[in-house]
């Protein structure tokens, strides 16, 4: 398995190095939206005399810089690719290979994130300086951030695959994944830090998996939650990853039986 992964990595890195400009441009998507909402929250905070609840202007800056980093590391585009492969029948040869198609996606996902991380950090450094971000994170927070962002990324990846497999039944998953993306938009900490979501929405964000994909790692990196709370949140993240892993096993097994190449 290690040899297989090594080969996949070499292949993907070679493929990625051909499209350097493209991958850097796609990275900007992870930055633009957090900056938009950062600017909006700064305007709100300024209208309220410099702070909103426990957040002041510099906290918002730190939060959205963290969120932007997490969004880039916890993004998953499988649903769109997968729909294309099912519709075009390109999945069929992949199913015949001895390796589950998900492994190709795992490697592609990791390689893209590794190649974009350096330009992303440069852009985020610039944003952090412009908005004068202040992180409250202690070294312990930074250590906890690593498992948290890995779990968040895994959760987003597995969730994306569960959504993608609905293509076995519907062929078009665009509508389903739009719903999923909008739930992420509202509940994962994009429009507001989880702590600032109004009552019911905050409960939903913390009961459903969405908040654990992006909002939780971002808050840990920013240092908005204390260490025991952070550890508890990471434990919940791990539970969600396990749930989605099991879910994916089930839907994949049922769905792949449903799948027929177009024309069969």
């Amino acid at each position: 398995m290690i040899d297989v992964y090594r080969a996949l990595f070499v292949g993907q890195i070679q493929a990625a190095s051909q499209y350097r400009v493209q991958s850097v441009l796609w990275m900007l998507f992870s930055v633009i939206r957090p900056v938009i909402f950062l600017a909006a929250w700064v305007a709100v905070a300024n209208a309220q005399g410099g702070r909103v609840a426990s957040y002041d202007v510099r906290d918002f800056a730190a939060y959205y810089v963290a969120l932007s980093l997490v969004s880039n590391l916890a993004t998953s585009w499988n649903a769109y690719d997968f729909e294309f492969e099912v519709r075009m029948g390109r999945l069929s040869p992949k199913l015949l290979r001895p390796l589950h198609p998900i492994h190709y996606a795992v490697v592609e996902n990791i390689v893209w994130k590794m190649t974009t991380i350096i330009p992303l950090l440069i852009v985020l450094g610039f944003v952090a300086v412009t908005f004068d971000a202040r992180f409250r994170a202690t070294p312990v927070h930074l250590v906890l951030f690593v498992p948290s962002v890995i779990l968040g990324g895994s959760l987003a990846f597995l969730g994306g695959w569960v959504i993608a497999t609905s293509a076995f039944w519907t062929t078009r998953v665009h509508a389903v994944s739009t719903l999923w993306d909008r739930a992420v938009f509202i509940f994962a900490g994009q429009i507001a830090p989880l702590a600032l979501l109004p009552g019911a929405l905050q409960t939903i964000a913390l009961v459903l998996p969405f908040g654990y994909m992006r909002g939780v790692p971002a808050e840990i990196l920013q240092g908005a939650v204390d260490v025991p709370t952070a550890m508890l949140l990471i434990a919940v993240q791990a539970i969600w990853v396990a749930i989605f892993y099991a879910l994916l096993q089930v839907v994949w097994r049922v769905g792949v039986r449903q799948y027929t190449g177009v024309g069969a």
């Binding site: 600017a39 909006a40 507001a192 600032l196």
Partner: protein, 260 residues
């Protein structure tokens, strides 16, 4: 007149094409509704903590959001599909067919394809704007006219920018990435352009005039755009249109067809 008839014809064929896939059409409408309601929700969450955002109250913000979806809807209704097709024509060398027809090539290429379902986005955007207007008391005929003028100027500005951008396809062929960047910047138009820090505000109002195209119509209808500002906008839009058309013609000269 002839051009209007052609435009109606293009629109009708594209409508017929989309009606072939009815389930897909229904799903796309559902997506538009979900996207716009969640955006309104995001604005409501912000206003849960404040009554005014840089001088924009909730009513004015909803008008702005409505204008954002009107402008973005217009872009996705005709500009995005047409310009994508145009770049494909350049790549495949099939632009010859448009150039040989007895009508303005720029017209034939840039207003040819429609995603009719995006009318839904514009319609829903209009609804959001009207709801917002209900919360603003002052609305005279003057503001209504100024709004219409400003909105059309916004459309023209977006058109001019996309035309100028896509002209680069004549030299570089593959420029979808440039266009993708443009569409992601468009997202910034959902908030008034004056909330952004200096460098971003300058970008959004000059290089990518999204801020202008969305913010000014919203200001016009809430009576906060004076006549001078409107005049500048009109002159600027006309100038942008003429300049980008000239640029397009320059680019067209280096188009060589498939194997020329």
């Amino acid at each position: 007149m002839r051009y209007l008839r052609l435009l109606a014809l293009f629109f009708r064929t594209e409508l017929q094409y989309e009606l072939e896939y009815r389930t897909n059409l229904a799903l796309e409408i559902v997506q538009i509704v979900v996207i716009i309601t969640t955006s309104v929700g995001a604005v409501l969450i912000l206003f849960n903590y404040t009554t005014v955002l840089n001088g924009w109250d909730l009513g004015a913000m909803l008008v702005l959001l409505g204008c954002f979806y009107l402008v973005q809807g217009f872009g996705e209704l005709v500009l995005q599909p047409s310009f994508e097709k145009f770049m494909e024509h350049v790549r495949l060398g099939t632009l010859d067919f448009a150039l040989l027809k007895p009508a303005s090539a720029q017209f034939l290429v840039t207003l040819r394809n429609f995603q009719v379902v995006q009318l839904g986005q514009m319609g829903l955007g209009a609804v959001v704007a009207i709801v917002g207007l209900g919360r603003i008391s002052t609305l005279g005929p003057g503001e209504a006219v100024a709004f219409a003028v400003a909105l059309v100027c916004g459309f023209v500005l977006i058109y001019a920018l996309l035309l100028a951008l896509s002209t680069f396809a004549f030299w570089f062929v593959r420029i979808d990435n440039l266009m993708a960047i443009y569409w992601s910047f468009l997202d910034a138009g959902r908030f008034p352009v004056d909330i952004y820090p200096g460098w971003l505000r300058v970008t959004l109002s000059t290089a990518v005039p999204v801020g202008v195209a969305v913010t000014l119509p919203a200001q016009a209808i809430s009576g906060r755009l004076d006549l001078f500002g409107l005049a500048v906008l009109v002159v600027g839009s006309i100038a942008a249109f003429i300049l980008s058309s000239l640029f397009w013609r320059v680019g067209l000269r280096s188009y060589t067809g498939a194997s020329a």
